[in-house]
Symmetry: D2
């Protein structure tokens, strides 16, 4: 099997849209890239408060955009995560004033002063597959399994919009779901020629909901395969892993994110199984999962997730995921 | 080990609150009971449309209430699910006019006519551990794993309220989460003497979110152990399984259900590990799960779920779950 | 004109539902009654903190219930406010821990401590038609126009529910809209024989949204005429003043309260003018008003309000409002 | 009094941000401009269905941007509406598939087919001050008062974002409130040099909430005075009329739009009257109004509105509104 491998080297950007491609590749190309953490690498000790060492809007840098040759509006680009590897032996997390699910924010505006801004420094031990939480108010340490992923991946938005990288939406963006780990394929509808894929916000791991507003944030050395499916643009991002298909909705209130994701999954299931919408609605109701992505960003994100065991015989995007899995295996085998 | 076993035989009720106990038991008693399905057993074929064969408000019958001797306001009652066994070889599900997540409802009021009302009949094969979905619009059949659970369990509400059994809230009620399966212990704060536990709405299985509004509904033969913890009443229901502790929030919009559940889990984690709230917030943010319960009932339900591996050394409710697990094992061993 | 006048003398209740009538009257009867303030009269100085001098759930007392002879489920009862007169020369308002729109609450749960609990004492000068705000943090005083109204009015709920008086819903309850002033007729669908009307929570005035959680609260001497319309039960409360018809929705999130109110007003307008729903939707879109009632209670309340000038020739509830206006004029003329 | 008057002639744009100024003026300049209707003038008969004659994203054109010389980030630009005059003797309104408050949309996603798309043609009679609604399903005609206003006005957003003109936010945009009529001054925080003001979406009138999704839409000949206040950038748009000050919040869910607007008004009131936040919270609670702007756009809009009678002695933006009123009077006197 012959695979093309290129390395992307780009200045960090802070938005989806409004930028020319940093790299253009043929469908099927393996791309190696580096992403800085959501603080731009500026938070290195528990005394580096993000609100002091970071400057709005230079937050959540993304690497890209990558154009896929031949991608036109209405097409679908696939981004398969081959490898996501922490680039450092440490990671950070923090509260941030007016950000998070259990605090007054600029939109859920209240008369309370901001919560305390606090930083946590994690050890990252890739060999042992763990990252280590150290409490600040007590002597407690807890080892948590490494589960590296990207909070942010997406394409240039429709209608010429330029959207801050911290916002998730129909174009992807900062969806902050732990499902975006190695082994997963993400599908996005193309809005502009090339699609223009950007990736950022590496997490050593995160809980569902990302309730305090940040995950275990670190720089990543990441490898993806990008691919092109002519036509078939999904209205909202979709994921595929070996075990599940997933639809992603990002909106407020959270029930609308839920509705978007379930609506897309119901329609997708109907297409895949040759059912009408009501039959697919029923099947998803009994077999589906509905984990939160994030409930902190400028839009909230929910996933609708269906085991492939329910989809016997159906061909998802003509076997794209399996094909990209094979490319990934070839790449990893050579390394 | 000596265990007390009693059988509860009660008329169906349709609310939490407003009723005297049907049974009073000592803490630690095993209670065997039967629950009718959410349609009161009236939907038996695909031609039995719920809106025709059921009569509001006689929906979602619950069995109970069970008083726990000695339970006073401010105490905690525990309900451990020992066994949940489908009482029939079939089950039903349906859409219902103006009910469900992807349809106009009486509160998310729109100008559309109601979606088609449709019934699905499932085969239940307990021996093989499956229930069988049969599409109505195509020839498709799909076997889904049996995962029996109760959509509805709770206690009499505070403030003398009488709340329809279809509503989830601080008292429990119709939370509709698949986590309410055998092997799980549910904890409720006591509002009235005896606590007054009722149980209903058996599901052969359900997806997270219960998006169409109903699960794979059937009558159940169910066994629980009820217990009493003096004091410590949680503000919202909590669950404990062998692997996880969980807090449950039920409210609208869905982000408030999320906030309630996460807020409770953060406070609970802080208590269990001796952390301050911000440290617990951080730990839950990285290690927690956040699945939807239902996004269709009169309140929506979210769960905040933490692996016990994170809680090393902490004693949850003084080992109540393990103790009730032992009672359950004793009971099941004798049967 | 012959009018019947009776005085209602009842113990305070704290819920809608679950109580026998305190008084039964014929349709068209004038009822004189007294309502205590939402604190049960316990807050009399700025040092009487509600959380210390009041006891949950003995908050927001209502007077009633009044049964209307002949009212059956499916009918409509009308409550016309003839007179709402502050019973004292002072009134109070306060913040209350975990209550209000700009603070963490039990459902919009956050990690902040509660806002400061503070009481404001208002002078009420009925002769001059003003109440006087006195700042606590500065020397400022502001005279505000008296605009007496009731925050709470409604009937016994459907389905045998007993609902705390602080909750607004389809049965009315604690809607907290300044539109419930003298001269307004409220219409409610009847759920139980007699309808069972209760009234409470007098306000010298309130802003729309009642953002801090309480209005200028005082005891009231109030006069209403109650009436019966056979059939025609509205799904949600409706109001009629000399100038406007109004539909009220109470739900969360706030857009659902908006949807309910607009949906009802669109249907009502279609009925009154002989239009189809889309034409009525269009007319309401251009001519309607949409003020907030409250955005603090356990459900939020929005009003959809249409000038009667748009309804030329239409007869609203067969002229009930004009008829009750005449009864009120007769009553007031005699006094 | 010497006033500067210029005419802006610009190509329509469809976004805020991402464009150089079409005109740069000194503070205090009167600008005459023309705005096309939200359909780009393409809907001219009841048979011109918007989904057929308009092309996404070329909807809701705005005229501008106007740079104010000297405006820097952190400053405040004022836009005083001098005159808003329908440019045609007709106007249109419509439903639009998947848009509106009482229909399934792309975010409140449901399984219903879209509502019927229907167009209404209004006569506009400026001399008599009315526009005439003609029902499509019946013979009814209703005259409604002309109350011309702009749905859309704002500045270039922060963080380099480019935001579709149909979205309201912190930068203003498509707020769709009837308060944006002649005689009102709007204040915006400046994000980029010049501020970059754009205006569009003229309405002959609209109801609060704009429930069907469109108002009585027409092209407008509009005159504004733009002005500059150094510093003092409000976080969200503010309005001032002769009688009221208003804060505007745009977000989802609707209670967050409410919270933003009330939070801003509370802070503003505290500043103006020298109160602490709790005292201002109390005063706004009793004296404020809370009408909906729109509950249909990509963000919803609420207003918090306080009568100036409550603000005795306070100077709002150093008397900017009165000064711009004087410029407007001078301009109108000359015409």
């Amino acid at each position: 099997m012959s695979i093309e491998v290129v390395t992307l080297d780009a200045e960090p950007a802070f938005a989806f849209g409004g930028r020319p491609p940093a790299l253009t590749v043929e469908p099927g190309t393996v791309v190696e890239l580096f992403t800085e953490d959501c603080f731009g690498g500026a938070v290195r000790t528990v005394d580096d408060l993000p609100s002091e060492v970071c400057e709005f809007p230079y937050l959540n840098p993304v690497t890209g955009p990558i154009a896929v040759a031949g991608a036109e509006p209405g097409d679908t680009v696939a981004v398969h995560f081959v490898d996501i590897r922490p680039a450092r032996s440490w990671a950070v997390s923090s509260t941030f004033p007016h950000f998070g699910a259990l605090t007054t924010t600029h939109t859920t505006a209240m008369l309370h002063p901001a919560l305390e801004e606090r930083v946590w420094l994690y050890d990252v031990d890739a060999a042992r597959g763990i990252c280590r939480f150290r409490a600040r108010s007590a002597e407690l340490e807890v080892e948590l399994p490494l589960d590296p992923m990207h909070g942010t991946v997406g394409v240039a938005p429709a209608a010429g919009e330029v959207i801050m990288s911290i916002t998730p939406g129909a174009h992807g963006g900062n969806m902050d779901t732990p499902e975006l780990r190695a082994g997963t394929t993400a599908y996005f509808g193309v809005n502009v020629p090339g699609g223009l894929i950007s990736i950022g916000d590496g997490h050593c791991r995160q809980g569902e909901g990302e309730v305090c507003g940040t995950a275990v944030e670190t720089a990543m050395n990441t490898v993806v395969v990008v691919d092109l499916i002519k036509g078939g643009a999904p209205a909202w991002p979709r994921l595929e892993s070996d075990g599940h298909v997933m639809s992603i909705g990002s909106a407020r209130p959270l029930e609308d994110a839920f509705r978007i994701s379930q609506h897309d999954l119901v329609g997708w299931t109907a297409d895949l199984l040759g059912l009408d919408l009501l039959d697919a609605y029923q099947l998803v109701s009994q077999a589906g999962l509905a984990p939160a992505g994030n409930v902190v960003d400028t839009n909230y994100t929910m996933l609708a997730k269906l085991p492939k065991s329910v989809l016997t015989g159906a061909s998802v995007y003509d076997g794209t995921h399996a094909r990209l899995r094979a490319v990934a295996a070839e790449y990893l085998g050579r390394r």
